[in-house]
């Protein structure tokens, strides 16, 4: 049986207890991977074992990548953020209530098909990549997409964080033996501002129904750079280049944001059709925050 890496353990330990994960463990606790360095280009290289809490609070990182910091600071709970790691949150497994229930097998447990497809519920995806209907859980991945971040993998060529994901059949595309060691971000952009928001039933500590993150750089009254991504809507974290394009080169305004946030999506399930309006609202909100 293939060994699984253990970083902070906040996902794996729950799957160990429920019997979802039964193979050997390779603990990364003693592997270091906790450094935050500046790159030659002026960006940052963040070790895979750096905690989510550090992403949210490290002064250099929060100044450089506010969209990442805001996202990291809003997920899960303070205790989880102190234990969960950058590598772990990028490669965590789905939170689907069927996958997390020992009574079911599905393609992600090594079985076949998707038991959730017949009963998707209001938390499922809007955009159906098939076969899995659960949204991708990684908020941090969503934020990293907007920065064109690159994942370093031991003994393998680096690949964009976007390239870690790609279909609805797997939570990530790495092999079990691949070790993600660091994430590199390009140099920060002076004057960038950001916004992050999630929609959920409760006020906090809840997986989002949908979430959005944005950063904007405005010069001389014109958006010169925009990064926008959403989560909770597809089996992958989703960057929205068309929204970014609609913003770039224009003077920021409520009307521009509303126009840019319009989503031309067809819902996969009637139960999740509401997420389209929800996501559009969130995009408008985070753009307003980022102004």
């Amino acid at each position: 049986m293939t060994a699984e890496y253990r970083a902070g353990g906040t996902d794996l330990m729950e799957r160990r207890a429920s019997g979802r994960s039964t193979g050997p463990i390779i603990d990364l606790y003693d592997r270091g991977l906790r450094s935050i360095e500046t790159t030659e280009e002026g960006g940052f290289r963040i070790g895979a074992m750096v905690t989510v809490d550090t992403l949210a609070t490290d002064p250099a990182l929060t100044a450089a990548y506010p969209a990442l910091a805001l996202t990291a600071g809003a997920l899960a709970t303070p205790q989880i953020r102190r234990a969960a790691t950058l590598g772990g949150v990028l490669l965590q497994r789905t939170r689907c209530r069927y996958y997390r229930n020992e009574h079911y097998e599905c393609l992600k447990t090594g079985g076949e098909g998707c038991p959730a497809r017949g009963n998707p519920g209001e938390r499922a995806v809007v955009l159906d990549l098939g076969p899995c209907v659960a949204p991708h859980p990684s908020s941090v991945a969503m934020a990293l997409l907007t920065y064109d971040a690159v994942a370093e993998i031991e003994d393998r060529p680096s690949k964009p964080v976007a390239g870690l994901y790609g279909d609805g059949a797997r939570d990530h595309l790495l092999d079990a033996s691949d070790l993600l060691t660091a994430v590199t971000l390009p140099p920060p952009v002076e004057g960038e501002r950001a916004g992050y928001k999630r929609a959920a039933g409760r006020a906090s500590a809840e997986w989002p129904l949908a979430e959005a993150v944005a950063h904007l750089t405005v010069r001389d009254g014109v958006v010169v750079r925009a990064g926008v991504a959403v989560g909770g809507v597809a089996a992958v974290p989703l960057r929205l280049p068309e929204v970014e394009a609609a913003l770039t080169g224009n003077a920021p305004s409520e009307e521009l944001f509303a126009r840019a946030a319009r989503l031309d999506w067809t819902p996969a399930f009637p139960e999740t059709a509401y997420k389209i309006g929800l996501t559009a609202t969130l995009i408008g909100d985070v753009l307003a925050q980022a102004l």
Binding site: R6, G9, T10, M13, E14, R16, A17, S18, P24, I25, D27, Y29, A76, T77, P78, Q79, I80, R82, A83, R95, R97, Y98, R100, N101, E102, H103, Y104, P115, G118, N119, G121, E122, A199, A200, G201, R202, A203, S204, A205, E206, W207, L209, E271, T272, Y274, K275, G277, L278, T281, L282
Partner: protein, 856 residues
């Protein structure tokens, strides 16, 4: 690995799957750290690793190597946060308390280092957002942390708001899950994987008791027992057998070796399918129907079966007149006529201490440590079932119950059967998935409501037909509660059960009350709206209960009510205020005895009841202290060998133990005849519960439960803010008026009323038991998928006690645990209507439902 644990060096060799919590609780024996959800959601297991609060249930034990670990035991007992928790009554059952305390200690210490003054509610809530308190004591927790940060407890000992608070804030309070006996085995329950099947169970070695027992030893290492009566399972998760072994991991492994062969039977889960004539019958004959489990407290209502539908007899007062008036009003479209179908989701109790039992069967009798709210009842039930020479039931501290711990559960049965068979103590504790699957829940409901009101003439007619959805259980009683409210106008009520292949329901805090209010209180609100009447004034006209009428009058003068929006707002964020009323019966255990003994100069009070977080110890202590203000008073509950005490159910505890304790104190004072307590060593008196003046509503007790005269009342005025684009509802302020007469312990009473509001908000907005309609598997089986209200969902709350009207009860007051939560969800629904014009019919009011409803 080596680490520093609470200041001292430790070495341990953890397994790869061991969690920090496992090692701390088992190997280090520090049981102050509690494990509840096992998924990092509830924070009960929070420990400090190098000063950083982390959830130990997900933390690999190996990661403690080289660290400095502090648990609640290591915090000491005099930290300002602990003192503040003790004095501010920042807890109820106390199971979440060690986690809150350790987290709050770090917040406090950092605040004091970097900042001055009092942190805001928001700042404290942000720090504590990874902690859940099912009792809903958030308000006092926030206050306690604020006061500690402000330095109020730097230099002084706290005045404990409740007797056991110091034990709960230091982690020394022992719960059933903390009980470890020498030679104890660990039991695991083998459960059905199918919703309906005929099963054959094969144990690995049917003849022997053990696979691996050492022949040289007398007692076996492991063994099996069968739990299922008969050979038919009717829901996925139904207990079939139980196994015990030396460790939990070995027990789980052994459970895998039990072979259950299934012969599937046709099943139906969804109530709408189950009610059809062609649905497979779950209880095919009268014998099976008779044995269907019941979710009712005490005897359920009689009923007639047809397929999977069990219909009660109509409870009516001029029922034909009611229906004739409603038909006529419907036909002529009368302005005061309203009809709608309301639904509610099942609500899981989710006590943070799971159902757990440690059974110790010996030749001279059975000792059963169990997390129960019905210690006296369990003693009788265990004696009847197993007939041991004697039975002792022990429950020193109980981590919440809410109605789910009233009976002999599968954990207790499995532990006793295994211990009896193997001759060793056995612990069986439910996992969170088991807890959320098969320890009961408030049944889901579907209510057909028809009401006709007139602005001045009262409620002209009402009919309510309610189907309860309690899986394989019957006994949902909702509509019938309508006999007791809103005057004597013509009315027609009927309760039904629609059974399905899903786990059975059980009583839950105010059984039937919240779904009744969800329909009827929104009906009253709707009619007020249609008639252009003030909803509180309309209720005062219709409602004959003088205690509740007093509450309406007070509520009507509140700025919160007077300043409510006149019409639905426009714009994205809309504020609204809603009112709803609650009605509940008054019960007491008239057989309650409280014994007082003078021991070493102290007065020791004993009764065989248990404290599930309601503060019953303190009710007893306060009653004795009224007579002996200067004496040292100890209260011993949680052991069945004491004189008979009440079950913690039906809001009966306070009105049972309070008067009995007063009676005992009076008798002790008479015996002392002016002598100081110190000179009466060994004196014992037995206090009894005096009878009510002018008798009871029902002249006999059923299983020690007496229904008294008079009805308790409550009114909730609730303010919400709705984000109409994100479908998010935030409850911002709640006023709770409660009319239960004299209050025995003001702090605990207010705490419980606030908790009732928090649970009601959960019922209104978040909590939803989800069962897969095909397989009958409970999908809301962890605390991420079953969502409890958190500290940041807690509104500002004001509790008002109306203390008149209970002079016929000795002590002048009754219990409030149920009435204080019944009307909360309905008041949220009415507030959302006031804000948005959208009448929510289905609980919970999820964002998608709100958005969909508003777009119609």
């Amino acid at each position: 690995m080596r680490l520093t644990f609470n200041g001292g060096p430790r070495e341990h060799d953890p397994g790869p799957d061991d969690t920090a919590a496992d090692v701390i609780r088992t190997a280090f024996g520090a049981t102050g750290t509690k494990v509840s959800c096992g998924a990092g959601v509830c924070g009960a297991c929070t420990i400090l690793v190098d000063g950083e609060p982390k959830v130990s249930c997900l933390l690999p034990a190996a990661h403690l190597d080289g660290t400095e670990v502090t648990t609640v035991e290591g915090v000491g007992g005099d930290h300002p946060v602990q003192r503040a928790f003790v004095e501010c009554d920042a807890l109820q059952c106390g199971f979440c308390t060690p986690g809150f305390v350790t987290e709050a200690v770090v917040f406090h210490d950092r605040w004091r280092k970097d900042r001055e003054g009092t942190p805001s509610r928001e700042e404290v809530a942000d720090a504590l957002t990874g902690h859940l308190c099912r009792c809903g004591a958030y308000e006092n927790i926030l206050t306690a942390v604020q006061k500690a940060c402000a330095g109020e407890f730097d230099d002084r000992e706290p005045v404990p708001a409740r007797v056991e608070a110091p034990a709960k804030v230091t982690g020394t309070a022992e719960y059933t899950v903390d009980v470890t006996l020498p030679g104890m085995l660990h039991g695991v329950i083998v459960r059905s994987r199918l919703p309906h099947a005929r099963v054959t169970v094969t144990f690995p070695e049917m003849s022997g008791q053990s696979l691996r027992s050492d022949p040289a030893e007398e007692t076996p290492h492991e063994g099996f027992v069968r739990l299922l009566d008969g050979d038919v399972v009717r829901y996925a998760g139904q207990p079939i057998a139980a196994v015990a072994a030396e460790t939990p991991a070995q027990a789980r492994e052994l459970a895998e070796s039990v072979t259950v062969s299934y012969e599937p039977l046709p099943s139906v889960v969804d109530p709408e399918e189950a009610r059809r004539d062609d649905a497979p019958a779950i209880f095919p004959d009268a014998a099976a129907q008779k044995n269907a489990p019941s979710s009712a407290e005490g005897a359920g209502f009689p009923g007639r079966w047809r397929g999977n539908v069990r219909s009660g007899y109509a409870s009516a007062w001029r029922g034909r007149t009611a229906r004739r008036r409603l038909d006529a009003a419907e036909e002529r479209n009368a302005p005061g006529y309203f009809a709608a179908t309301f639904t509610t989701a099942g609500q899981s109790h989710t006590a943070l201490e799971p159902h757990a039992s440690v059974a110790d069967w010996r030749a001279d009798g059975l000792t059963l440590y169990t997390s129960t709210q019905a210690l006296p009842h369990l003693k009788a039930a265990a004696a009847k079932r197993w007939n041991p020479p004697k039975v002792d039931i022990v429950a020193h501290h109980v981590g919440g119950g809410f109605g789910s711990k009233l009976g002999l559960g599968a954990d207790a049965v499995a532990a006793v059967e295994l211990s009896r068979k193997l001759g060793r103590p056995v612990r069986v504790a439910m996992s969170r998935a088991e807890e959320l699957t098969d320890t009961g829940y408030r049944p889901g409901t579907r209510s057909e409501l028809r009401m006709l009101g007139t602005p001045t003439g009262g409620l002209a007619a009402i009919s309510l037909d309610v189907s309860g959805h309690g899986g394989v259980s019957t006994g949902s009683m909702v509509a019938t509660l309508g006999l007791l409210m809103y005057g004597r106008g013509p009315r027609h009520f009927r309760d039904r059960d629609v059974v399905g292949n899903a786990p059975p329901a059980s009583p839950f805090r105010g059984p039937g009350g919240p779904p009744f209010a969800w329909a009827v209180e929104q009906g009253v609100d709707e009619i007020a709206h249609r008639l252009g009447a003030d909803p509180l004034r309309l209720r005062r006209t219709w409602d004959g209960n003088r205690r509740r009428r007093a509450l309406y009058e007070i509520a009507a003068e509140l700025p919160l009510w007077r300043d409510r929006p006149a019409t639905p707002q426009t714009g994205r964020y809309r504020r609204g205020v809603g009112a709803a009323a609650a009605n509940w019966i008054y019960t007491a255990d008239l057989d309650t005895k409280v014994e007082l003994t003078v021991r070493e100069g102290r007065i020791v009070a004993r009764t065989a009841t248990q404290d599930i977080g309601t503060g019953v110890r303190t009710v007893i202590r306060n009653a004795v202290r009224e007579v002996f203000p200067d004496a040292a008073i100890d209260v011993e509950v949680g052991h069945s060998h004491a004189p008979h005490g009440p079950v913690a159910g039906g809001s009966r505890s306070t009105a049972s133990v309070g008067p009995a304790a007063r009676d005992a104190a009076g008798k002790l004072a008479a015996r002392l005849d002016g002598k100081p307590v110190g000179e009466a060593e060994g004196v014992t008196v037995l206090g009894e519960r005096p009878k009510d003046r002018r008798g009871s509503a029902v002249p006999v007790s059923m299983d020690h439960l007496r229904i008294g005269r008079g009805l308790a009342g409550a009114v909730h005025i609730t303010e919400v803010e709705v984000d109409t684009l994100l479908g998010h509802t935030r409850v911002t302020r709640v006023w709770g008026g409660v009319a239960v007469g004299a209050i025995y312990n003001r702090a605990a009473a207010r705490n419980q009323c606030e908790g009732g509001i928090v649970q009601g908000i959960g019922y209104a907005l978040y909590e939803e038991r989800v069962t897969d309609p095909r397989t009958g598997v409970v999908l809301s089986a962890n605390l991420e998928d079953y969502r409890l209200p958190g500290v940041k969902d807690t509104p500002e709350m004001t509790i008002h006690f109306h203390e008149d009207g209970w002079d016929h009860v000795p002590g002048g007051g009754i219990g409030l645990g149920e009435v204080c939560t019944v009307s909360v969800a309905a008041s949220v629904g009415n507030a959302i209507f006031n804000a948005t014009g959208f009448r929510a019919l289905d609980l919970p009011i999820r964002p998608d439902r709100l958005l969909e409803g508003m777009s119609r």
